[in-house]
Amino acid sequence: MKITRRQMLILLPAAAVAWEHVLAGTPESSPNYKLSDHWWSMLIDVPKCIGCGNCVRACQAENDVPDGYFRTWVERYHVSDENMTNPVVISPNGGKDGFPPVAKEDEGKYFFVPKLCNHCADSPCTQVCPVGATFVTPDGVVLVDPKYCLGCAYCVQACPYGCRYIHPQKEVADKCTLCYHRITKGLTTACCEACPTGARQLVDLKNPNDPIHEFLRTHAVQVLKPQMATGAKVFYNELDGSVR
């Protein structure tokens, strides 16, 4: 087949558009990173959290999270002896600016609980997505493809933990990515890096040398809402029974 110069000029931009379409689904290159070698999750050491809000601020700065929405947030629980199943919980501005001081006369116990997407292995949010725009990566992270999401919010309804929202400008579902752009390059997440007490630790369950294995063996570790059977992978050390 002979292609004239005129045909060539028409074909070239079309080929460029087609090639861009082919490349659209290709992840950013990360040499030396093998998806099948990792199974990411996070450990939250509840007694270590001091409610400083560093993690929330770091997350918002790193991921350009819009004001009033949260990929991670911190809750303060107040559980009194008389009413242990009905805690008083606050999270002013997601705990971003810290918490008000506690009155001396208040009885009971106080503690902080950082929250984020649980990157569930059997995640209900990915199950309900009508087009598969949200998915679990082979290395165990739940992500949303913003170029594919319809913005129907079915996933927001399906998440038992309130971790998803519709981005007010992009009008697509948005949530914690476990800083996928960082962890695939050998870094830790922004929230873990900013945590001054080591209350948040990125863990790789497929790495035999990760201290998480020793930790899980020797501590009372829980996940949130285990009755939901979502295969949640954010592990909480010394989680109080009143936490929802």
Partner: protein, 392 residues
Amino acid sequence: MSGVEGYIYPNEVTLYWSVLIVLYPYITGLVAGAFILASLERVFNVSAVKPTYRLALLTALSFLIVAPLPLQFHLGHPERSPEMYFTPHSTSAMAMFGYVYLWYLMAVLTFEIWLDYRHDIVKMAQSSKGLLRLVYKVMTLGSSNISPRALHVDERVSWVVTLVGIPSAFLLHGYVGFIFGSIKANPWWSSPLMPVVFIFSAMVSGIACVMVLYMAVTRLRGKTIDMRCVDTIAMYLFYTFIIDFSLEMLDLIHRIYEADESFRTLDFMVHTKLFFSQIVVQIIFGTIVPLILLAITQVIKLPELARKRMYAVAGALTLVGIFAMRWNVVIGGQLFSKSFLGYTSYKIALVTKEGLLVSIGLTLLPLVILWVLVKLLPPWTDDKAAAGVAAD
């Protein structure tokens, strides 16, 4: 924070499924219900409802055409909605919407209407002039054989289509119920009864809608309302409504008796934020009052005028009640926090993409479409009867 009581997860302040998502199950329910009423005449040989057969089909079609619009307006990226057809996610109940919808629209409803009207369309293509003639000609789809044998084939095929249509109508609306009932994260929705309740409430609303439309339009046309027809429809409405109400009460009693971890939160919501829409509008005025009115017409022999008025009031209240039921399911399911520690609020906007004006427009649009369809394909049997009598 305004509109927030107690503690809710910070991302739960915004309520994402608005009044448009209330309209969507309401409209599809009317479609399914109207079709099931039509099938009474065709499959179950209930000849008394014949005057409403074609009207019910056209009503179903008008509402079905509008059914996907609330979803489109609601989507953040409506331009991507065709992806639901091209790359559906096999585990998503919502992904099946496109297929169930298309199947119902094309294979069931449009096909059945076309079969039923084919004879009339061919006749009208011959008798009309100008642009209308062209429209009717296109509508024949090139099939202009109206010999008795051809019409007999139409009749048989139409019977089969209706037979297939009944489970399809159940599928269409049962699936809408499944969308909500299968969300385990939300105790207000998560129930295997949800699809069944949706199907029966759909039948109730569809039957009430056709009954009210038939009575209103017949009056507007200056014709006599066929009381045998309306009495029969009202009887079916009454019995379907009893099943629907029993199912909803079963769900309620089950929740109260089980009183699981979510109960206190949901109970408080029903007594406060949902009190007006659920207790007052849905249960008292939208269910108990119409049920009492319909029950009176079943047990006491009332004069025609009284029956007509009671049917009209019961039908209109039923339509409001079923809308309230959809509202309470969709909006109610998002008012409480999944932490069970607090509540958010829903304020309907006026002129936004998902606001009041758009929803009123989308509610009226099916009636406009129905008006066009009725002009194009007159569904009236009394005209024919009159013409037949005159010819004799």
